[in-house]
Symmetry: C2
Subunit: 129 residues, 2 copies
């Protein structure tokens, strides 16, 4: 752990460029939308809750707009009820295909992570240091 974060209990913050495997919000968003249509704020709360990572609203809304531009979701304004108008997103057929492709890649990634962790443990468990 780096000097900056040593002693902190939030090991997620460690380190500058050091750690984390990225690129996960997009499939996660598509899966949530496959389960049910939702608006951005709702998706943000779901993600913040299920993953224990802080979600950047800017990234989330931009990702949704990009998804719509790419035809993976479509949106409509919900002006019913109280509160500010909300844009409700639902997944398209193309979005579902994307999600399936993503799931395959994630399965492969999981296997790579498992091989990495196995190698890592083997190496640091052995007495040869």
């Amino acid at each position: 752990m780096c000097d900056r974060h040593r002693g902190q209990d939030d090991s997620r913050a460690c380190c500058p460029g050091g750690g984390r495997v990225r690129g996960f919000m997009q499939p996660k968003l598509l899966l949530l939308l496959a389960q049910r249509p939702a608006h951005g704020y709702e998706l943000m709360e779901s993600m913040a809750q299920e993953e224990d990572t802080n979600v950047d609203p800017g990234l989330l809304y931009r990702t949704l707009r990009q998804f719509e531009e790419d035809g993976l979701v479509r949106s409509s304004w919900d002006t019913e009820g109280r509160g500010a108008a909300r844009r409700v997103y639902e997944i398209t057929d193309e979005g579902l295909e994307y999600l399936h492709a993503w799931a395959m890649n994630i399965r492969r990634t999981r296997e790579r992570l498992e091989r990495f962790l196995a190698d890592y443990q083997t190496h640091f468990a052995s007495p040869s240091k």
Copy 2:
């Protein structure tokens, strides 16, 4: 799968921005160097073999230079033997600390992937579609 790649047997190529979780080369490089010192070309071959992904030499060499700048590895020229001179890298103590921090993050990431895949399968296995 997207139009561009439908029918191809290489599902890794799919799709433009669609899939793959990134940021994995760095911990993988550090683990390889923790196992034994090596030069760039050798690391490239190890990675291309163990992961079945094509490795970009540009990215690899730039990453190693960055590692050295950050003090995670140190290098020396090997002019022995025949062939072009090669720069041999070995991991430093700081690099080892980084590797440990990375391994923790990767463990957490694996759990997120597993939760995602479980949710995914649950959703698409159920008859409610």
